[in-house]
Amino acid sequence: MPEETMRVVTQTEGGTVTIAPEGDVDLARSPTLRAALRQALAAKPQRLVVDLTGVDYMDSSGVATLVEALQTARRGSTRLVLCAMKERVRSIFEIARLDGVFTIVDSREKAATA
């Protein structure tokens, strides 16, 4: 079967790129998210916001993708912010003890200044 894909909406406004994946981010889908994050980070924006409104579920392959993005962002002086994370997704960050490592805010509005 061909590599499975998911919808990822990318939006650029000033120095901020916002990426909004839609659907479950699991081993089948995280390559799509990774591709979108890499592309966004290649331009070294000031701020990269990952809007998780549309993500009901994430497994450790999705978390690994975000950790990788965080490392790349830091090297390129991009501020990476996660927003609108659902409770179920937050719990995997907590179990992985990564909830303190990422900047996580409630909404896109807050992500603009976090």
């Binding site: 079967m1 061909p2 590599e3 499975e4 894909t5 998911m6 919808r7 990822v8 909406v9 089948a28 390559p31 799509t32 990774r34 591709a35 979108a36 890499r38």
Partner: protein
């Protein structure tokens, strides 16, 4: 890839407690194969109705008898999913496949809707006796994706982006 053999095979006991598990399995897989939410829901409904009939008519509501569900994508030449085929098998009483049919729906009374629903939502439906000593019935159902996914993708929408 994965062209031989069955992609998904579920063996379950004939206990209604597990109907929701079978529905969610079938509906989630159908979504990933490219069916719309409505299409996936219809496939899950057909599977539920067929399982209920096996439990009620085939096994007289015994809860400890086996049922097998296999699911395979139907592919076109470019290896894109075009639909799904689901086979349900049991070791229940064998009946004449001709006897498994819907009643006249104009009469309003409880029951007698399952087979009609299955035929309505699936594109192909075939009942037959299972060959072999164990007996039982076999139901083969196929549904095609009405809005085919764009080339090279199994994802749901035209805006889906290519993988890494």
């Amino acid at each position: 890839m994965t062209s031989n053999g069955t992609h998904i095979r579920l063996q379950m006991v004939s206990d209604p407690t597990y109907l929701s598990g079978a529905r969610e399995l079938v509906s989630a897989v159908s979504r990933r194969l490219g069916f719309s939410e409505e299409g996936s829901g219809q496939i899950a409904l057909a599977v539920d109705e067929a399982l209920c009939n096996i439990i009620r008519h085939g096994y007289d509501r015994r809860r400890d008898r086996p049922i097998w569900l296999s699911l395979n994508p139907v592919h076109d030449e470019q290896n894109r999913a075009q639909g799904v085929t689901i086979v349900l098998e049991d070791e229940a009483r064998q009946v004449d496949p001709e006897q498994i049919r819907s009643r006249d729906l104009d009469e309003v009374r409880p029951g007698g809707l399952g087979v009609h629903i299955i035929r309505e939502v699936m594109d192909e439906v075939r009942y037959e006796r299972r060959p072999g000593a164990a007996g039982g019935m076999k139901l083969t159902m196929t549904k095609r994706i009405t809005q085919p996914a764009p080339a090279g993708e199994t994802g749901p929408g035209p805006c889906a982006r290519g993988g890494a």
